[in-house]
Amino acid sequence: MQFFPLRAKILILLAIIATVPLYAGSYSLTFMIILLMYTTLAESYDIVGGYLGYMNMGHASFFGVGAYSFGLLLNSGMALPLSFLFTALIVAAFALLISYPFFRLKGAYFALATFGLIKLLELLAFNLKGLTGGSEGLTVSSGYRVIPVYYMSLILCAATIYTVYRISRSRLGLALISIREDEEVARAFGVNTYRYKAIALIISSIFAGLAGGIFIWNIIFINPTGVFGLEIALVPIAMALLGGSGTVIGPVVGAIFITLVEEFLWTEVPYLHLAVYGMVIAFVGLYMRGGLVRTKAARSLLNRLGWVEE
């Protein structure tokens, strides 16, 4: 294992994942698409939640805004690539807009206010019937798209992880973690906190927004509760925390772990699988300080593979 540099191992892994459609059935592909989507959401959440240290419970709002924007753009006749581009721009603008007022809040205040934002967007989606179709939802042109969606999801997910990796080793990353450690002192030492917080939020939002775009393109139809609901809001955050918030692969590990656990429980355990699921989460919280990726076992495994983490 040590013979290959880390980069090679990752490329091999990517290549393997890229060839999955050749031999996997529809169910497996859908499973992978969902996994990739949640991984993207968990990883992008962690830019603000883990590195910046602001628990953005409203991360899913970017997902929902992205889904609706993409759907509307597509329906207006815009080509697919342009729709993605403009979705990213719309979501980024939205993130910029909310960053100044919301970043004045801290801790639990920030968490709940951003969560409230999701509910408000849900309400807005219900009421702007002319735009969003209200409770009847938004539909885009149908088609069997599993394969392209798979590759899009894979590329987006890889891009998200790579971006977080680059951030963690960059000046931007240093600014973010200094803000997390002590925002007032970071300011006193030259960090323009307003700017860096906004940048973190914008980057985080773009990945979530694009995931939303892919989502509606995949399942054709969305409604307010589907994209602004509790599950899409909370599960990615739980994944990031469980895997290890503030690390590059923590959220990825968390997403894989939770998705696998869910799949296992769904197929093997007929009753009480939500209960077992809850107990697993609680167990990790109790006995694995800092998440799965920070346990001794995980650290030594990662070291042997050549990955150095915090």
Partner: protein, 287 residues
């Protein structure tokens, strides 16, 4: 709006707010002492409601009386919960503690919900408890609601005196303000944490009686309600019990009055209120 309707809405709103305040009070106490946002709080409310339902169907006793009788049970449950799950998180660094407590309490909440669902079934359960309606002129008021209001007021007053006058109450306030300082003057902060969790849980269970009388209860109500109570304590300002009271009341009134005009907006008015208040006062009303 005719006066009779206004008065009805007012009473309903204050009652609703009172229920919120009562349920959120426990959450606020727990947060003040242990610095933990107990995401399983709503589950204890749900269990309290179901317990009242269960006992009522066998004994036909006054539900409020039943809710008082089950207090010791839930006090114990809360204490055990703290001892078993929360205690070991106290020694961690602040942000590790926050992350871990989210995972632990959320996991516990999911487990409690599912196990309850499994044992009791997930249909809605409610008690029809009727008392004659009181009327003054044009205004008709449900005496159940009035009784509920009185119950909450008495509880609030009792709590107030408890916190102000008893040793334990003062210990709770001391630990909330400064944990280290409190232990330096001889207060066993760990024990206070455990006891406060017990009290907070019992208060949640007490609030449950209102849900089973006025509305219906099912195992799924726990998590959405917990989120609502989190909104209440954040609205009022974390760590301020008075803020929780005010926040809950304002929230209840807002919901009732907006629901009258538009049921759709009623549900979301809580979040709208929260976001607006926080944008003006970043630490809540009294934070």
């Amino acid at each position: 709006m005719p006066a009779s309707v206004f008065v009805q809405l007012l009473i309903a709103g204050i009652l609703q707010g009172g229920v919120y305040a009562l349920a959120a009070f426990g959450l606020s106490l727990i947060f003040g002492v242990s610095n933990v946002l107990n995401l399983a709080h709503g589950q204890f409310l749900m269990l309290g409601a179901l317990a009242v339902f269960f006992i009522f169907s066998f004994t036909e006793l006054n539900p409020f009386l039943i809710s008082i009788l089950i207090i010791p049970l839930f006090f114990l449950a809360g204490s055990l919960f703290e001892r078993g799950l929360i205690r070991r998180l106290m020694s961690r660094l602040p942000h590790e503690q926050v992350e871990a407590s989210i995972l632990v309490t959320l996991g516990a909440a999911l487990a409690i919900q599912d196990i309850t669902s499994f044992l009791w079934g997930s249909e809605d359960k409610g008690i029809s408890y009727f008392l004659p309606t009181i009327h003054v002129g044009d205004i008709y008021v449900s005496s159940v609601r009035l009784l509920g209001l009185v119950f909450i007021i008495l509880l609030t007053v009792a709590l107030h005196f408890y916190l102000k006058k008893t040793y334990l109450g003062k210990s709770i306030r001391a630990v909330t303000q400064n944990r280290k300082g409190a232990s330096l003057v001889g207060i066993n902060a760990s024990r206070v944490s455990t006891i406060t969790f017990g009290i907070g849980t019992a208060l949640a269970a007490l609030a449950g009686v209102f849900y089973v009388i006025l509305y219906t209860v099912s195992p799924e109500i726990g998590i959405p309600l917990t989120i609502k109570y989190l909104c209440v304590i954040v609205l009022g300002g974390l760590g301020s019990l008075y803020g929780t009271l005010v926040g809950g009341t304002i929230l209840g009134l807002t919901e009732v009055f907006t629901s009258y005009f538009s049921p759709h907006w009623g549900g979301t008015s809580a979040y709208l209120l929260l976001v607006v208040v926080l944008l003006i006062r970043p630490k809540g009303l009294f934070g």
